[in-house]
Symmetry: C2
Subunit: 205 residues, 2 copies
DNA sequence: GTCTATAGAGGGATAGAC
DNA sequence: GTCTATCCCTCTATAGAC
């Protein structure tokens, strides 16, 4: 009879602390500008210990990157694939999902898409776009609504409505066009409007 | 009588060659991942000479960055401020401007917005968003069309329609969802459709 | 597991000859 | 203007003691 190993709460301490710091550093500075020394010192340890847990900077980065790609893309697959919800309901769910999530992680899209662009063949494959997204219930319903619809283009349009404001956030704030709360307010209004806009565009095709 | 100095074609050679290479390197790799040694060797010279022309990497970068911000943002100000064109015409002109320009420089948006995010206070000011864009004829016409319109939000929506596909390009191609010519075709179709979509959204508000 | 110390490579910048 | 040689700092990674 096999006895399960009990959870070791000790392991959460240092290892998870490093991951936590690394997440923040990579997200804010990108891969090259992030220094292992900074991660170590911010985690309250030193370089050698960081390499004891994660063999290299690259390795640590791949772990974080994989997490973040999931956060940005893979997370919505259940919504897209749900056969119980209508197209209209999916539009609302997507808007809510992205708006709420990105208000918590405004820097996520620019980080992920920038690093993918610098290394497409390495990270691109993780996004099961062709297999998972293009064959989803969402795409099927889109084609059903109007056979002339170009599904990929429409998906990009909608993601743009939801995500692009977060690309512009630093610009808006640095130029003084929008303060922090002004930006949140705008995005929350858009959360309501985006599904309506998009429904209309789909109708138009 | 002042005699104008003749253009010195000699100066275009080395200095412009360095700029040309630096543009490509910074654009593809970002600031930190770009190495001055690479710029020099790709320009067919050496490090010392590069520092003779441009005092430092930072200095060279600021020049390129300034150029690129202009390319992405400042370039459309004449369109936005034209009192001779209708709102509808401006939508068409913006769509044409961005689509054609970004097909030539697909990596421009992600480079500029990523570097601005890493250093907002430094580069943000160059974009005269609050003073030039927000007081433009375009914004006035938008408010005229419907007083309930939220001009900033609508501008972001439209820029998203035109620019966001280029953020997704590496993802589309790495996942095999779209080949190179498939992407161009999609974007060219969108060039026609985006103004129509947007006109409709403005009507809805 | 956690540390100190250091190897080893790479990067930006400059001195100084031509 | 353009080069070679080199300084000097920073960064990643590892050896080895505790």
């Amino acid at each position: 009879m096999i006895i399960e190993e009990p959870r070791k709460p000790a392991r959460t301490t240092t290892e998870e602390k490093i991951l936590e710091v690394a997440r923040k550093q990579f997200l804010n500075k990108g891969y090259t500008a992030t220094k292992t020394r900074d991660i170590a010192s911010l985690a309250g340890i030193n370089l050698a210990l960081m390499n004891y847990y994660f063999r290299s900077k690259e390795n640590l980065f791949e772990i974080i990157m994989s997490e973040k790609i999931d956060e940005l893309f893979t997370g919505v697959l259940p919504v897209l694939n749900d056969t119980q919800t209508s197209l209209e309901e999916k539009l609302v769910l997507l808007s809510e999902h992205y708006t709420d999530m990105l208000l918590r992680s405004p820097g996520l899209p620019i980080f992920v898409l920038n690093e993918i662009q610098k290394n497409p063949e390495r990270f691109g494959r993780q996004i099961r776009f062709k297999t998972e997204v293009m064959r989803s219930e969402y795409i099927r319903q889109l084609a059903e609504a109007d056979p002339n619809n170009e599904p990929v283009s429409h998906l990009i349009t909608y993601l743009g409505m939801l995500i692009f404001p977060f690309f512009m956030k630093p610009v808006m704030q640095a130029t003084g066009a929008l303060r922090e709360d002004g930006f949140s307010a705008m995005v929350l209004t858009r959360k309501q409007l985006a599904p309506i806009w998009m429904k209309n565009i789909i109708g138009i095709s």
